[in-house]
């Protein structure tokens, strides 16, 4: 047994050695061990949707001398919950991706060290939900709205719906597909939008009527948008038959950007009276190994350069007032004047109960 064990240990060591040589080395600068807390690296922990252009990240290194290491771990909810689990000994210096539906959970757990980012005066005031303490800094906003398939409604000479109430009309029976509010963030956003529009008691009644009007619920955005919605490229291939879907206000520009050849008009439109505003925040993690680097990174995230790079990477809107939207957004996107909002502390208090009664009303 002893010889076998020795032999195996050697083999394992050799195997690991080989694999490191085989080029796993190329991909990670902050190799195993010390948690990459060197003063020259700043680590950003985020969800899977975080993105930035290479050139912009390089510019940050050039300006400040810090290299950015990005760690991604699952969707927004999962990524934040991992931070809460590891609070006090975080994996990085800055966390990006707590939105207004999750913000209270992050703040109540004391995840962040207060820091007032340089240039905060350029950021829209209505996005600064922690303005007195600056534990988090707003980075971007996005609107969750019903999208419609333009062709479907044009063919039938039918006006697309524009508001939450429109969706209850018999003309739109069996046309809407939405996501599970328990597992999907657009699904939750849409539910919160109905709460904002119809009140904390009226929303249940609204959903009963919506169910009678044939709303279909699927688990995630991918399936709703790519498989069930007739206006998307994937849906067209799947011969989808629902011309209304809960998605984002930025979805039509994306449809245009990724079509080949690019059309002159977006194939989908946004029902601007059905929107719920999401705001995403970043914060300096409590116990960060590189606080100075983390602060520099927060300053950078609201800088004009990063804010203008963001829309085409994450399909969200900048919060900095001096950041210009790319033409794609101004030409094909929708401006939402009065998005529905619900105060973060109210969301924190009632979210579970809202989602649960929604589930028993709509899904079961």
């Amino acid at each position: 047994m002893n010889t076998t064990t020795k032999y195996a240990a050697t083999a394992l060591a050799a195997a690991l050695g080989v694999s490191v040589l085989a080029g796993c080395g190329g991909a990670d600068d902050g190799a195993a061990g010390a948690g990459a807390g060197g003063s020259k690296t700043v680590t950003l922990v985020s969800h899977d949707s975080f993105n930035a252009s290479d050139a912009v990240l390089k510019a940050f290194t050039k300006e400040t001398g810090y290299k950015i290491k990005v760690l991604k771990s699952g969707d927004a909810g999962a990524a934040l919950n991992q931070e809460i689990l590891t609070k006090g000994s975080p994996r990085g210096d800055v966390f990006f991706g707590a939105d207004n539906t999750l913000l209270s959970r992050a703040l109540d757990n004391g995840l962040f060290t207060p820091y007032k980012a340089k240039g905060l005066e350029r950021v829209a005031a209505d996005t600064q939900l922690d303005a007195d303490k600056h534990r988090v800094t707003p980075i971007d906003t996005g609107d969750i709205c019903v999208n419609y398939d333009k062709k479907y409604f044009a063919d039938r000479k039918l006006d697309p719906p524009q508001s939450f109430d429109d969706l209850l009309k018999p003309a739109y029976k069996n046309l809407l597909v939405t996501e599970n509010a328990a597992t999907s963030s657009p699904g939750l956003g849409f539910l919160l939008g109905t709460v904002a529009a119809h009140g904390e008691t009226g929303y249940q009644d609204y959903w009963k009527k919506l169910k009678t009007n044939g709303v279909k619920v699927v688990d995630g955005w991918e399936q709703a948008y790519n498989e069930e919605f007739s206006g998307s490229a994937g849906g067209k291939k799947a011969k989808a038959d629902r011309p209304l879907v809960v998605s984002y206000a930025s979805s039509p520009p994306v449809e245009v950007l990724y079509a080949d050849p690019q059309p002159t008009e977006a194939p989908t439109g946004v029902a601007t009276g059905t929107c719920f505003r999401q705001i995403e925040f970043a914060g300096l993690l409590n116990g960060a190994k590189n606080e100075a680097g983390g602060k520099a990174l927060l300053d950078f995230l609201i800088s004009k350069r990063f804010q203008e790079d963001m829309p085409l990477n994450m399909f969200v809107n900048p919060v900095a007032k001096d950041a210009k939207l790319p033409e794609l957004f101004t030409k094909f996107g929708a401006t939402v004047d009065k998005p529905a909002t619900v105060a973060p502390d109210k969301i924190a208090k009632n979210r579970e109960q809202w989602v649960q009664s929604w589930s028993s009303l709509v899904v079961k």
């Binding site: 064990t5 760690l71 799947a238 990724y258």
Partner: protein, 538 residues
């Protein structure tokens, strides 16, 4: 033995115990009352009931459809057999996201069935069951077929000469020899379907939820650790129960088998019966395995300007994606292969050692218990392990939370049980007297193992390696939860592309899935073809 135990303790038992402990203890006091509270909730009971019956149904259906396939692959020769064997293993490694999409295209609205007969099966239990068969077909064919192809057909012939009918001979000779492998395969399929996650989420819609989906929701989305801990314990108990039954059946059935070279046992089909069987099996493979894969390929080529390779070309540059990735999606292939290679090596070493230790006749009760323990990672959800890593591996020398090695480690955890399951029946079937003879002739234990066991089990090692490799290639759960520096694996890249609107993204997701399929098929084919000389190398 020491190495597998240490590996298992550090990377599985400790993290899982820590996360369960976090849910069940407040201020250092165990709150076992929570177990009863959670288990009396009607919604949780519904989940338990659904999880169990769909797993039973899926297992039965898989065995029914795949056992004839195992026979055909083991005993019959037909053109393209090697290729087909690799192809049926491909589903096993596809990310569930992709499989869900393929099955929706087949069974959903406007899918093939809908066009032919107006049948729609999406959001029904049938879609889930069929997808489970699709996933697990290879498990049965490879585990049972691998052994079947090495059983000496002359034993059955001898029984026939002695007057037994064809059926009786098969029942008395072949079936008992196969039983451990069939039991092992059934057990694996049951475990997989019992802990099914992606398939149920996508095809079942929000109305169906398995234990695994519920654990994920409670942990990752709600951070309700007490409920998640209770559910994890329930899953533990269930998996433990299954394993205990399994161990008991295996012990009753194990006999030393006469294994022969598989090349000698298969022949071209003779007679109407065998031809019909071959035809039936090929048809079932066509409908169940090739058709869903074909849909993906078709969609990856179906651009707005007719059929072409536009989506594949788009994969080569990061720009075409509006820099969805900081690297071109094609780089994900390299990442995936590297992770899978490391994971396979770890799984082979750990699993091989464990299997060798378990076959010793002196192996006591303790070691046999370890056998069952090694299977547990299959029954524990990725999110539990991933979150367990987070709160345990956070101190030097083991601060691995931000290291790339965590991903292959987590993948190897799932690979080890495969290696053990595949090697154990074959290793146990090696006649002990051969080892004793070698020892008498003065060979060290290692030498004896190399000269006696290895040549006989090399095939099993290759099959095991193929499985471990395939598992880590398509592994999605742990890869997503474990934070990694941004070098996406193929499944992660596919999921990200599917998570965006626009034709190019959807097409690229399909193209990348097709590439993933091809990479798997090629890797498996290479493994099938490896003909090592008689050296002790893997």
């Amino acid at each position: 033995m020491a190495l597998p135990v240490a590996f298992f303790a550090v990377f599985f038992a400790y993290p899982v115990a820590a996360i369960v402990g976090r849910g069940l203890r407040t201020d250092g006091v165990w709150q076992f009352g929570r177990i009863g509270a959670v288990l009396s909730r009607p919604d949780i009971l519904d989940v338990l009931w659904f999880t169990t019956w769909q797993a039973l149904a899926s297992t039965a259906l898989t065995l029914l459809i795949a056992l004839p396939g195992a026979y055909v692959f083991a005993r019959l020769d037909f053109p393209g057999k090697q290729l087909l064997r690799a192809v049926v293993t491909v589903p096993f490694v596809l990310p569930t996201v992709v499989v869900g999409t393929a099955f929706l295209a087949l069974l959903g609205r406007g899918g093939l069935l809908d066009e032919l007969w107006g049948v729609r099966l999406d959001t029904t239990v049938w879609a889930i069951l069929l997808a489970h068969v699709f996933f697990n077909y290879a498990v049965v064919v490879r585990t049972v077929g691998g052994l079947w192809s090495q059983l000496d057909p002359r034993q059955e012939e001898a029984a026939r000469v002695l007057g037994a009918g064809r059926l009786a001979a098969w029942r008395r000779v072949t079936l008992p020899a196969l039983a451990p492998a069939v039991a092992a395969a059934a057990l694996m399929v049951f475990l997989f379907t019992f802990t099914s996650f992606g398939v149920v989420q996508i095809l079942g819609g929000p109305a169906y939820s398995t234990l695994e989906v519920e654990i994920y929701r409670q942990t990752a989305q709600l951070l309700d650790l007490p409920t998640a801990a209770v559910l994890t314990l329930v899953q533990f108990a269930a998996v433990g129960g299954i394993l205990a039954v399994h161990a008991w059946t295996v012990r009753r059935r194990e006999t030393a088998l006469k294994l022969v070279d598989p090349a000698q046992t298969s022949r071209p089909p003779r007679g109407v019966g065998q031809r019909t069987l071959l035809g039936g099996v090929l048809l079932s493979i066509l409908l169940l395995v090739l058709l869903p894969l074909g849909v993906l390929v078709e969609r990856s080529l179906d651009t707005s300007g007719g059929y072409g390779f536009a989506f594949y070309r788009a994969l080569q540059s990061a720009d075409a994606n509006g820099s969805t990735f900081l690297v071109p999606p094609l780089d994900a292939i390299g990442n995936s292969l590297r992770y899978a290679l490391v994971a396979t090596l770890i799984a082979l070493v750990i699993g091989g050692l464990a299997a060798a230790a378990l076959t010793r006749r002196r192996a006591g009760r303790l070691v046999r218990g370890f056998d069952a323990l090694l299977m547990l990672p299959l029954g524990v959800s990725a999110v539990t392990v991933g979150f367990g890593f987070l709160i345990t591996l956070d101190r030097p020398p083991l601060d691995l939370r931000t290291s790339w090695i965590l991903v292959p480690l987590a993948q190897a955890l799932v690979g080890v049980p495969f290696v053990v399951r595949t090697m154990l029946p074959v290793l146990r079937a090696v006649d002990d007297r051969l080892r004793e003879a070698a020892a008498v002739l003065g060979a060290s234990p290692l030498r004896a193992w190399r000269e006696v066991d290895l040549p006989l089990v090399r095939r099993a090692v290759l099959v095991a390696a193929g499985f471990a490799f395939a598992v880590s290639l398509g592994e999605f759960g742990a890869t997503v939860f474990i934070a990694r520096p941004d070098n996406p694996t193929l499944p992660v890249a596919v999921a990200r592309l599917l998570g965006r609107s626009g034709e190019l993204n959807y097409g690229q997701a399909m193209a990348l899935s097709t590439i993933l399929m091809l990479v798997c098929a090629v890797s498996l084919l290479v493994l099938e073809r490896i003909r090592t000389d008689r050296s002790g190398e893997f």
